[in-house]
């Protein structure tokens, strides 16, 4: 499917706003959007939200034969998938120019910078080494996929644990996670890429362009750096002429941003480790905030009120024991277990036999009193 075309008036307006140093969402020139990092239940699964841009990285490993010219080193394999879920312009299966560019940039940023100790991935020299595969899936494209992908990839690599192995001569035993704890990869440093968009032939620059800004930009400068201020890769595309002062300024800004982002990543990893150690629930479903639509919520329950006193008296006379209380019924509402009953529409039930009416109150009390114990209620 084709992407929505950009109209002339949008382009003019965006350029005019950039000249006045205003961005569409009210950020400053050097501001990043809000970054949110969450992890899945498996080790090595990481979701990164950069504003509305959303990517997921998954790391997996496999024992393979090493490359001929490097018998002592493990293999790293990177792959970025642009799924049609992210944008109507992405097509499934087709290698578009953007996908080639992103893949190449991610490889350069992570592989050539030697951030992972590949020699520690060797099991039997010349025969068996670990192949670490990083798959990054784009879930929503609102601009700056490169930065989000690099953050997701390096975080997933830091989060990943590979199975423990032991060798006895030529025999290799791979232990499952139940037998021996899996061990993390040895990572020297965390390279993170920062994107700068240039407008009006290099006069104006913006950090972390959103999708609209990406469409009207003239050129893009991507600097991958780690927190020790070592530049891992620089790439300039779009064919604009940049002065060396501009490039120096960008690298200084990148240094500041990278140290902030690295701190954020370390905090997220620490929180996840604490949560797993404490045995709490972790994973994608837990990290999503419970979102409710309350604008259309019904507050009142329609209750059948005709001849309530007679039926109530009849029920009380019939029932001999005190009404049973069912504390804290746990049941699943959709995909999440919750203790309180809310956002539920209850209608009054009318049982044809006997004409007894069971009232269920919609209040938030945790104890439930069921007046008619012979007819058990099955709340759906």
């Amino acid at each position: 499917m084709k992407d929505t075309p950009l109209s002339n008036c949008e382009r003019d307006f965006l350029l005019k706003a950039i000249e006045e140093k205003k961005r569409l969402d009210g950020r400053q020139t050097y501001d990043y959007r809000k970054i949110k990092i969450s992890f899945g239940t498996d080790y090595g699964c990481c979701f990164v939200d950069l504003g509305q841009t959303r990517v997921m990285a998954q790391v997996s490993c496999e024992l393979v034969a090493p490359k001929e010219n490097r018998p002592n080193e493990g293999i790293m394999f990177f792959n970025i998938e642009l799924s049609p879920m992210a944008s109507p312009g992405f097509e499934q299966g087709r290698q578009s120019e953007l996908s080639v560019k992103l893949n190449r940039q991610l490889e350069r940023c992570l592989r050539n910078s030697k951030c992972i100790d590949t020699e520690s991935l060797c099991v039997v020299s010349g025969e068996k080494v670990w192949q670490i595969r990083v798959d990054v899936h784009t879930l929503n494209n609102d601009g700056n996929l490169m930065d989000a992908a690099s953050i997701a990839a390096i975080t997933a690599l830091c989060h990943f644990r590979r199975p423990d192995v032991s060798t006895q001569g030529q025999e290799v035993t791979v232990y499952s996670p139940e037998e021996r704890d899996p061990i993390p990869l040895s990572i020297y440093h965390m390279p993170i890429s920062v994107s700068f968009a240039f407008f009006q032939q290099g006069t104006y620059l913006l950090v972390d362009p959103c999708e609209r800004e990406e469409r009207v930009m003239d050129g893009l400068l991507v600097i991958a750096m780690n927190k020790h201020r070592e530049i891992c890769s620089i790439q300039s595309s779009g064919g604009i002429m940049l002065l060396k002062e501009q490039v120096m300024r960008c690298s200084k800004i990148a240094g500041v941003k990278v140290s902030e982002i690295t701190e954020l990543i370390n905090e997220a990893l620490l929180n996840d480790r604490k949560a797993r150690k404490a045995g709490g629930k972790c994973g994608f479903a837990e990290s999503m905030p419970q979102e409710r639509i309350t604008a259309l919520k019904k507050d009142e329950t329609p209750v059948e009120m005709t001849d309530v006193t007679e039926t109530a008296n009849g029920i009380i006379q019939k029932g001999e024991a005190a009404p049973q209380t069912y504390p804290e019924l746990n049941y699943k509402l959709g995909y999440k277990a919750c203790k309180k009953w809310d956002t539920v529409l209850w209608h009054s039930f009318k049982w044809p036999a006997g004409g007894d009416v069971v009232e269920i109150s919609d209040s938030e009390e945790e104890e439930v009193v069921i007046l008619n114990p012979e007819v058990p209620e099955k709340p759906k």
């Binding site: 929505t4 075309p5 950009l6 109209s7 002339n8 008036c9 949008e10 382009r11 003019d12 307006f13 005019k16 706003a17 006045e20 205003k22 569409l24 969402d25 009210g26 604008a295 259309l296 019904k298 529409l345």
Partner: protein, 244 residues
């Protein structure tokens, strides 16, 4: 059945809910009985002798007998007579191809502008915004747009857009803005003067005195979608006091 449907006006209904004629409805032999006609709007469909809901939303009613489901979606499906904001993507011969956010592009003939003749062509470039209405819009044919109404006058339609900002919202917000006595519009009027073009395909174009004010209005409208009336008025008041 009319009464059963009327009872549930204002309720949230889900696809699969139905209204049927109950056999026990008594028809009086003495009083004159008028045949009831229920006009189904979007979201309701007739299946045999039942009225079935096929979209989830709130049931609404307009006198004397029109019922429809107010549902929320972002994907626009073209309907005849609706005015939309489109982006011109191509000029081929006598016809412009216009993208309006649907599954295919609509065609707009150059003769359907006010005062256009074979010699006097309208000044439309690729990438311009047009405000047009649908002449033909069904699932079997390519949609067609026109920029004049039935009497041959432009009536606000045509090319526009220099200097403003175009953004997307959901279809529900657009309908709320276009309703006769809209709350959101009256709140917006009290902020600062602006020019607003609202297309029923979920696109809104706004232009105000300065770039900053235009950006503020665009952001306010996008966030007003999920707010209650009270939250929205609070937000608007805060912006007014901030006095950008």
């Amino acid at each position: 059945m009319f009464s059963t449907v009327r009872e549930r006006v204002g309720e949230v209904l889900l696809p699969g809910d139905e209204f049927s004629f109950e056999a026990e409805e008594k028809i009086s032999l003495t009083a004159p009985v008028k045949s009831e006609k229920v006009v189904c709007g979007p979201g309701l469909r007739r299946c045999g002798d039942r009225l079935v809901v096929f979209k989830s939303g709130v049931l609404r009613h307009k006198e004397p007998n029109v019922f429809w489901i107010d549902s929320q979606q972002r994907r626009y499906v073209p309907a005849k007579g609706e005015s939309i904001i489109g982006i011109v993507t191509a000029k081929s011969g006598d016809v412009f191809k216009v993208d309006f956010g649907g599954s295919e592009q609509a065609s707009l003939s150059y003769l359907t502008f006010e005062g256009a003749t074979k010699r006097n062509r309208p000044n439309v470039q690729v990438g311009d915004l047009v405000f047009a209405q649908f002449l033909i819009a069904n699932k079997d044919m390519e949609p067609e747009l026109v920029c004049i109404d039935s009497s041959g006058r432009a009536n606000g339609m045509g090319v526009f857009g220099a200097g403003g900002l175009l953004f997307r919202v959901s279809l529900g917000l657009v309908r709320r803005l276009l309703a006769p006595h809209s709350d959101i519009r009256s709140d917006l009027e009290q902020l600062f003067p602006c020019e607003l073009v609202v297309g029923m395909n979920g696109r809104i174009w706004v232009k105000s005195a300065t770039v900053q004010q235009t950006l503020i209005i665009a952001n306010l409208l996008q966030s007003a979608e999920t707010m209650t009336a009270q939250q929205r008025q609070q937000l608007f008041r805060k912006v007014q006091q901030g006095a950008f």
